[in-house]
Symmetry: C2
Subunit: 404 residues, 2 copies
């Protein structure tokens, strides 16, 4: 059983967002300095759906799904045809390229489900897979789980402006070296940066030239600040069969509790994803699927209001962090993550994260989850109650001072 044990060790979730409650009392006692700081606990590891409520009409749409009965409970594995049909048009409008409701779209349990199925449907053991550093931690774990070989490509988000900062020359080298799949998130999770048109077009050209498949996680692509320009990879000249695009309503729309996501594009890959979904979880929750009827169909003004509220929090937290000497943070152009790099501390980042939770009731995700170059960074999901988040950043700043 050696091999399977090693495999699951790589899937460690001890520091994953939301799992902090499972951490055993550690060895930080001897490191503690000073008293705890009182304040409303804030869990920056994920968004607070109590502060930003689920999009309007979601529960009513669910209730209508239950009312619809068996037809809604037992859909095709890829999801209800009726819902896929309504959604295909909206997703095509949003991304700027056609979506086939019949063969090119699958509804999944969250975008996590979509990502799992997409990776499982594109890579075989030993395949080289290009993965961005830093990027969403599950990308790395998924490639490892299916015995793919990770080939890292660095994102220099901190020292770049006007574009995300992907090392395009390195990406070309990686394709030349035989990588057949490229997986990345745009906007980038954790850095919140958006790939420029030139970056996306270069990715398209390189993938096309080297015959690679691209899985692009666009989970946060609706939450764009300052009308940031955004280029959907699928709307470029790339062969549509080379691209799977993933997006879902768990973040901007706060619908995570319903477990919904979608993947669309390549009919070949979507076909495989459905076959796999049949043995993974059968289908996205039947009644929940009905909630997608509200998606991309929210009341006028709802999305812009939500963006404005997040932008105000972003700016407030960033201004507080700017006061910390030696801390570096690029202003995110999209999404609800901040990814500041800490100044040098007297304790490890790992220990600081635990101290922060213990002494300040502030939960964050350590940067090491996202790649080996981010061990001194923290990810904070700022989709929170504004005042509570601002106060929590105050406590974070105080503890950075204390543990320098």
């Amino acid at each position: 059983m050696g091999s399977i044990e090693t495999k699951f060790e790589k899937l460690a979730t001890d520091n994953a967002p939301g799992q902090e409650t499972r951490q055993k009392a550690g060895t930080i006692e001897t490191l503690l300095c000073g008293d705890s700081i009182a304040g409303t606990p804030v869990d920056f590891s994920h968004g607070d759906v109590d502060a930003f409520a689920p999009a309007p009409g979601s529960f009513e749409a669910f209730a209508a799904g239950v009312e619809r009965g068996g037809r809604q409970a037992y859909t095709e594995y890829r999801g209800s045809l009726e819902i896929r049909t309504a959604l295909a048009g909206r997703l095509a409008d949003f991304t700027g390229a056609a979506v086939s409701a019949d063969d090119g779209l699958i509804i999944t349990p969250g975008t996590q489900g979509a990502l799992f199925l997409a990776i499982a449907s594109t890579i075989s053991a030993g395949d080289k897979v290009a993965v961005v550093q830093p990027d969403y931690f599950a990308n790395r774990k998924l490639v490892q789980f299916f015995d793919g070989e990770i080939v890292p490509v660095k994102l220099d988000y901190l020292d770049t402006r006007e574009r995300a900062g992907l090392d395009l020359a390195a990406l070309e080298d990686v394709f030349k070296a035989g990588a057949k799949v490229f997986v990345f998130s745009n906007p980038n999770n954790p850095a919140g940066v958006v790939y420029s048109r030139q970056e996306i077009e270069t990715i398209a050209r390189l993938a096309e030239h080297h015959g690679a498949t691209v899985v692009v996680d666009e989970l946060y692509s609706r939450l764009l600040y300052d009308k940031s320009p955004y280029t959907h990879l699928r709307a470029t000249d790339i062969d549509p069969e080379r691209v799977v695009t993933i997006i879902g309503p768990s973040k901007t729309e706060s619908l995570s509790g319903y477990r919904l996501g979608t993947a669309f594009g390549s009919t070949r890959i979507v076909g495989r994803m459905e076959k796999l979904q049949a043995i993974v979880s059968l289908r996205a929750p039947g009644y929940s699927q009905a909630v997608l009827n509200t998606w991309f169909a929210e009341p006028a003004g709802w999305l812009s209001g939500r963006i404005a509220a997040h932008q105000a929090i972003r700016d407030d937290l960033l201004s507080k962090l700017a006061a910390v000497e030696g801390l570096r943070a690029r202003k995110p152009e999209a999404g609800s993550y901040l990814f500041p790099r800490l100044p040098e501390l007297a304790v490890s980042t790992q220990d600081f994260v635990r101290i922060l939770r213990r002494q300040a009731a502030v939960t964050v995700t350590p940067g090491a989850e996202f790649g080996p170059h981010s061990t001194d960074s923290l990810r904070l999901n700022f989709s929170q109650d504004h005042k509570a988040a601002a106060d929590a950043i105050g406590r974070l700043v105080e503890l950075i001072g204390r543990y320098r």
Copy 2:
């Protein structure tokens, strides 16, 4: 990409229950004989949750989950501790052995999700896995997907009474030959037979002796007819760390639309399952988890009423099938499947299934899905409107006569 294509070909879902709507018009035109027979369409590929409604209080429990907000939307990957705690006691009472809410129980998206995670967490490429024939089709597909080697063990359900009919000598040989995992459903899906105490105790003894892990799918173990005796494997002398038990509320309780299942037992395997769930779908749908508060806590009399209603349908359909010369069917002791073996027909079973759908609006699942010895059988889920099901069986009987 040769290897991944082969891998996904083995996952074919064309004849899987619920996927019939995706079948292209086939070549059955030339085979058709006589006119169509009018009647209410019945889809025996799964239960009809409009005929047998979701268990009482399920929607209200879901609504309470939504009301609870973020705490319910973002649970631990293994599911809400509060709900696991309530559930652990009830599952322990039901199965006759302790369940650890903290380390030995995971909530999954359906029992399909539990089965996927359990198989993925116990087998490595090349491992020999004992699989019953016939048994739930996903067992075979899951082992194949993870590159395990299937070692079949025959269930002689048709010519056996008083026990399920597992070839225990063959099981012993398979363990001796190195099988490290045994996966089976009890009651058996598709045959509806229950393993006797002697069969379960022999499985326990053999697994213990040969150091094997057992994954037992007890999805239908609440729907027992005539107070049929039932032995939970986990309540035998077997080392609890060797067993994962799977059960969920999708069938008897008609809660499939909420996508809920549980797996419990081995803390080592449940730990792995959670790590994997983190990258497969994060967690069972958060709000849905709250529906489990109603599970094993239904109003007095509800379960016995549901059993009685199913038993009446079972007996009615079986008496109609008994009139067909050459057709063989064992009376199921549990669950809601009939698995009759057809007499010899002039068309293949595969074609007959399509003809049945075309000419009689009756959807069934071909026996070939469940194993190579069942190609002349059909699986019918009789959790249907009683009258519609009885009429549909009348049309089935008529078409058997027509296509002999």
